[in-house]
């Protein structure tokens, strides 16, 4: 039901992040080997390595593309406590139909953090060039390039103290004027007694400051990845969370409950779905561009895909095994196959799987009926 193509990235250590560009035709990879590589897809679907350079003096945790209207621009962040912005320069075209030599130059190095910078993300395009970073000491920084033509000048606009070590952040990409700029930050602090591990910050135009509007108390385990769903027309937001399981949270602004000073609305936060299909740690979450399909990956080596069938009703729709091998009974009996794909499922996982059957029953019962 799916094709898998293996790409030999030739990184010398773990790859920590992969990122498609806006059009999905280029990809960037980053690794602990301190290199960043950029790949271009040929018309027959093969990936060609077009650039590879040592970007940092520590592990490169994340790589992310800016919107193409700002040029071919990447941002990276690293264990070496810096975040960097890179721009691709194309040399002279040698002849018609041929491409000039390309190389990436570092436009800026953001050195404000005193600990490992764990995530970096460009803000929504409508805001111009904004960059948010978060670091292991729990400081979120918002940078801005006042002149989008000059990528070497970035000013630190805001510094937000978050009490816990941050591991990931996500901008809310909503295009609606009704939605203020919003950031979600996750913490990998693994002490449940430190409370909620996801913080929602919103920018108030009235007081020109970022305010913490919510701490999501339902997530108390270490959070490894969070991602706002693309919001092309919803009145509410969806936030996917990778923690010990996969959560989908819906955040709806409560219309009649605005803070007088900041003009920000309170959010009504509900858990729209919770999936334990991986049976182990979930590392990454990612949305498709319309925000209808969520993919998650976990320690079980599988990519699992979930789809919203009606409002806030989510179902697993596919399981892709990381090594490209086919997983039997894909989708419908994901809980079974996850157990099968683990060589020795720990007892705890088995217990949680039985629990999951009960939980999922309310959602996917009817489709499962012919199988049992």
């Amino acid at each position: 039901m799916f094709e898998a193509q293996e790409i030999n990235a030739e990184h010398k250590d773990l790859i920590h992040d992969v990122a498609y560009d806006f059009y999905g035709e280029r990809m960037a990879t980053c690794s602990s080997d301190q290199y960043v590589k950029v790949w271009d897809q040929t018309s027959d679907g093969k990936w060609n390595l077009t650039s590879s350079w040592k970007a940092h003096s520590g592990s490169v945790w994340k790589v992310t593309w800016a919107h193409p209207e700002f040029g071919q621009v990447l941002a990276t962040c690293s264990f070496d406590r810096t975040a960097a912005v890179w721009e691709e320069l194309v040399g002279e075209t040698p002849g018609p139909g041929e491409r000039g030599t390309r190389h990436w130059v570092r436009r800026t190095n953001l050195v404000d953090s005193r600990t490992s910078v764990t995530d970096v993300k460009f803000g929504p395009r409508t805001q111009g060039l904004q960059l948010a970073t978060c670091s292991a000491d729990g400081i979120i920084r918002i940078y801005e390039a006042p002149d989008v033509m000059n990528l070497s000048q970035w000013t630190l606009q805001h510094e937000i103290q978050c009490k816990l070590s941050c591991s990931c952040l996500s901008w809310n990409p909503s295009l609606s004027k009704n939605h203020p700029l919003m950031l979600a930050v996750g913490s990998d602090d693994n002490n449940p007694s430190n409370g909620g591990k996801i913080f929602i910050y919103e920018y108030s135009d009235n007081i020109r400051r970022w305010m913490k509007t919510e701490t999501i108390s339902s997530v108390t385990e270490a959070v490894h990845d969070i991602s706002f769903s693309p919001n092309l027309g919803r009145s509410f937001h969806l936030l996917a969370v990778a923690t010990k399981d996969l959560r989908i949270l819906s955040l709806s602004p409560i219309a009649d409950n605005a803070n007088v000073q900041s003009g920000l609305y309170k959010l009504d936060i509900q858990t729209a779905a919770q999936f334990d299909d991986h049976g182990c740690m979930v590392w990454r979450v990612c949305w498709n561009i319309t925000g209808t399909i969520l993919a998650s990956s976990g320690d079980d080596g599988c990519v699992r895909m979930f789809k919203m069938n009606c409002i806030n009703a989510w179902k697993p729709v596919a399981v892709l095994k990381g090594d490209g091998s086919h997983v039997a009974n894909e989708g419908h009996r994901s809980s079974v196959c996850s157990a099968a794909s683990l060589p020795t499922p720990p007892v705890a996982a088995v217990v949680s799987q039985t629990a999951r059957y009960i939980k999922l029953g309310t959602i996917s019962q009817s489709r499962e009926v012919p199988w049992h």
Binding site: D17, L232, R284, S366
Partner: protein
């Protein structure tokens, strides 16, 4: 072993352990003490700065404890003195020897590990001196011919050999017996080398430099670079971990306050990190045990660190990466799982334990880090293709509303989007051209042009009124019912449902819904699941239809006060799924016509239903339908009074954004041009705008890019390749201003360099 510390009155520059690792001597500018290391704390044994006559030789750059005689310490003083201390003596007599031989500060002193009384020092003046502590003067002087020597270390393997590292980046190997020249010298780093350390078992020397690297040299034969560790800051000290062949501890000179332990087989990320210090660490000594070490720091503390308290940066590192692109492909990078086969394949530096992979300890797993990337193409990627094709084929302007709705409905149907298609048809019915758009919708007029949709639509709704007595059913339920099936349809196109159906041998389009499932989104609206379940409900619906005409009048009067009719619309779609519902059109028309005599009462405003339908599509991620319907509605969208402009803008921007992702610039531009919201219309003006003039009369072209209002000719808008009028993207060379269809120009320029008009210009397109 526990982690604990002691605070000093000043920064600590160096520390040294005695022979059996029970006591530690620490030294700094204002500190010179000996502590006994107990179970949970340090206990002061000596304070060598307690005498009244302090001078500069009491402040140490470095400190060394004799490995043969527990009573002897040596210090390197900032004033160039090398001092030898006898701990058995008291007061001033403790300072047994003071060698005032170096001209500048002494960076390093080291006792020989096996020969008693032998001491070597390295100084900023570029020399090293060899002492016998029983003599008043040095035994030998070694001139490095470099500006300064930063570290000297006796080899543990060859008793007469020592290594010295210099600020010019070189390493020198000396024989104690040959002070005249060094045995070997080579450049190791591109910056000053601050420290070196011999491996306790191998003939390896680790060197640390300002160039942010730690290098391991095999000095067995010709010096060979064994491995390079890239660190985030200049490294001031390195120390091999005992009993762990590949592990080495380092501390930075600046920036980084943590002490890192590296596995040289994975030279990118520390195996363990100790973050207790608040300022940079100045020295590291292992207590003979791989699990415990001591460190001194500029933050005035001395720590004992237990390995169990280390943080493991690699364990926090994300081992996976994943990304989806706009054609639904997935990139997935994941750690290669460690298995026995792979282990045996590994060659080179890595020595493989023959045991099975299950018994691998953490340090073995640590260095075998590599990832693979897979790209998946799934069936789910049909959705983007569908979007792309719909975007190309939808007609958004230039025809009557009915025609556009009908066309778009057909297009949607062709793509398997049955329910999107139905929505278009309903729109045609509600807002079609035959319908008088200036008055509020009247039932009779609508019936004239439409099929049974609205008739039936209305009937059950009134019926529900009766039944629920205007109960407050949420407005979204109309769409809930309709779009529920629509959502399933999307599913169908996207593969999941069809896949299951396929497997089950069921025909496409047959859906079975559990009650639970529908309950979730329909919030207890009981009738709708019935609809989907087929026959059972048919009677249920028909029956009220027949009874309607009699009762309609009364109910309407009542309802008007507390429940607007559209809210009852959930059943509106029932005819869609149950076309067999037999309703004679004549009768209903008759019924409505009579009602129509009292117009205000029969005003039925479909806007709420349309709005909730659009909202439902948008919520499900199908902003294309929502935006296109808004555009096609044209002026009639003003009837949608409940839909605020912010939401409309959100949908349009969402659609434009998506079109951009697929490089559908033409359609995006069309959407922008058709837009009625100033903020969206301005999108075209924010980017670069090029005004064109007629090539004949120079009058600015306003209405269209290809037709001049004055000379009514379009000859200057011809494509220079195909000589047809260009009505879409016009690409031209800024040099000679000739151009034409984008595709034609691309094709031409891939073969030729000159302008297709023959003007001879070497055109440049970027």
């Amino acid at each position: 072993m526990a982690t604990f510390s002691v605070v000093q009155e000043g920064p600590v520059n160096a520390l040294a352990l005695n022979r059996d690792n029970t006591q530690v001597a620490i030294g700094g500018r204002n500190v010179f003490k000996v502590y006994a290391i107990e179970e949970e704390q340090f206990k002061e044994v000596y304070n060598l700065r307690s005498s009244k006559h302090l001078n500069l030789s009491f402040s140490c750059n470095d400190i060394s404890w004799s490995s043969t005689d527990d009573n002897y310490l040596a210090t390197a003083a900032t004033n160039g003195h090398v001092c030898v201390w006898n701990l058995t003596k008291m007061g001033k007599a403790m300072q047994e020897q003071v060698y005032q031989e170096h001209k500048r500060t002494v960076n390093k002193v080291n006792f020989h590990s096996s020969e008693p009384n032998r001491l070597i020092s390295g100084s900023q003046d570029g020399t090293m001196k060899y002492f016998d502590i029983r003599c008043k003067t040095s035994v030998a002087t070694f001139v490095s011919n470099t500006e300064s020597v930063r570290d000297v270390q006796f080899s543990p393997h060859t008793p007469h050999m020592f290594a010295a590292v210099s600020e010019n980046g070189s390493i020198q190997l000396w024989d104690i017996r040959r002070p005249d020249r060094c045995q070997q010298q080579f450049t190791a780093h591109s910056g000053p080398v601050f420290a070196c350390d011999w491996h306790p078992e191998m003939t390896w020397l680790a060197t640390a430099s300002r160039d942010k690297t730690i290098k391991v040299w095999d000095l067995g034969n010709k010096p060979a670079l064994e491995s390079t560790i890239h660190t985030i800051a200049s490294i001031g000290h390195v120390k091999w971990r005992p009993l762990r062949k590949y592990h080495i501890a380092s501390c930075a000179l600046v920036v980084d306050c943590s002490i890192n332990v590296w596995d040289i087989r994975r030279p990118y990320i520390p195996f363990a990190a100790f973050n207790e210090h608040k300022d940079v660490a100045t020295g590291v000594v292992w207590r003979g045990d791989p699990q415990v070490f001591l460190s001194s720091s500029r933050d005035c503390t001395v720590f004992q660190h237990a390995f169990k308290d280390a943080s493991r940066p690699a364990s926090k590192a994300n081992p996976q990466g994943m990304c989806l692109n706009n054609s639904g492909e997935i990139l997935y990078a994941s750690r290669v799982s460690v298995n026995a086969n792979l282990l045996y394949k590994m060659t080179g530096l890595i020595s493989v334990r023959k045991s099975s992979s299950a018994t691998l300890n953490t340090s073995d797993q640590f260095h075998q880090a590599s990832s693979t990337i897979h790209q998946f193409k799934t069936q789910l990627s049909q959705e983007p293709k569908c979007f792309y094709s719909l975007a190309l084929n939808y007609v958004l302007s230039g025809r009557t509303l009915s025609e556009m709705c009908e066309h778009n409905a057909t297009v949607a149907q062709e793509h398997g989007k049955t329910y999107v298609s139905t929505v278009w048809r309903i729109l045609k019915t509600i807002y079609g051209d035959e319908y008088n758009q200036n008055s509020i919708s009247l039932y009779g007029s609508k019936n004239n042009d439409s099929l049974s949709h609205n008739n039936i639509t209305m009937d059950p709704s009134t019926d529900t009124d009766k039944q629920s007595k205007g109960g407050d059913t949420p407005a979204a339920q109309f769409s809930g019912g309709d779009e529920e099936t629509e959502a399933e349809d999307q599913n169908d196109g996207v593969g999941f449902t069809s896949y299951s159906n396929f497997k089950l041998g069921m025909p496409r389009g047959d859906f079975f819904f559990g009650d639970n499932e529908l309950d979730i989104e329909l919030d207890g609206l009981n009738t709708v699941p019935d609809i989907h379940n087929g026959i059972r409900n048919t009677n249920h619906i028909i029956e009220p239809d027949w009874t309607l005409p009699n009762e309609a009048f009364n109910i309407r009067h009542e309802i008007q006060n507390h429940s607007p009719p559209p809210e009852q619309f959930p059943n509106q779609n029932s005819p869609d799924t149950n076309d067999e519902a037999p309703l004679p059109p004549d009768e209903s028309i008759l019924g409505f016509l009579t009602i129509a005599n009292v117009p205000m009462r029969f005003d039925w405003n479909p806007s709420k239903i349309v709005i909730s339908a659009l909202k439902y599509h948008a919520t499900l991620g199908d902003v294309q339908t929502a935006a296109c319907i808004l555009i096609v509605l044209g002026e009639r969208r003003k009837l949608l009074t409940g839909l605020d402009e912010v939401t409309q803008e959100h949908w349009l921007l969402g659609y434009i954004e998506l079109l951009g992702r697929y490089r559908l610039w033409n359609i995006a531009t069309q959407v922008i041009n058709l837009s009625w919201l100033p903020s969206v219309m301005q999108l075209n003006q924010q980017s670069t705008r090029i005004n064109t003039n007629c090539g004949n009369c120079s009058k600015p072209l306003q209405r269209a890019g290809w037709l001049c209002d004055r000379c009514h000719a379009s000859e200057y808008a011809l494509c220079s390749v195909c000589h047809q009028v260009v009505k879409g993207l016009y690409a031209w060379c800024q040099g000679c201003s000739h151009g034409g269809h984008l595709a034609h120009m691309q094709k031409w320029m891939s073969q030729y360099k000159t302008c297709p008009t023959g003007c001879g210009h070497l055109c440049e397109y970027t």
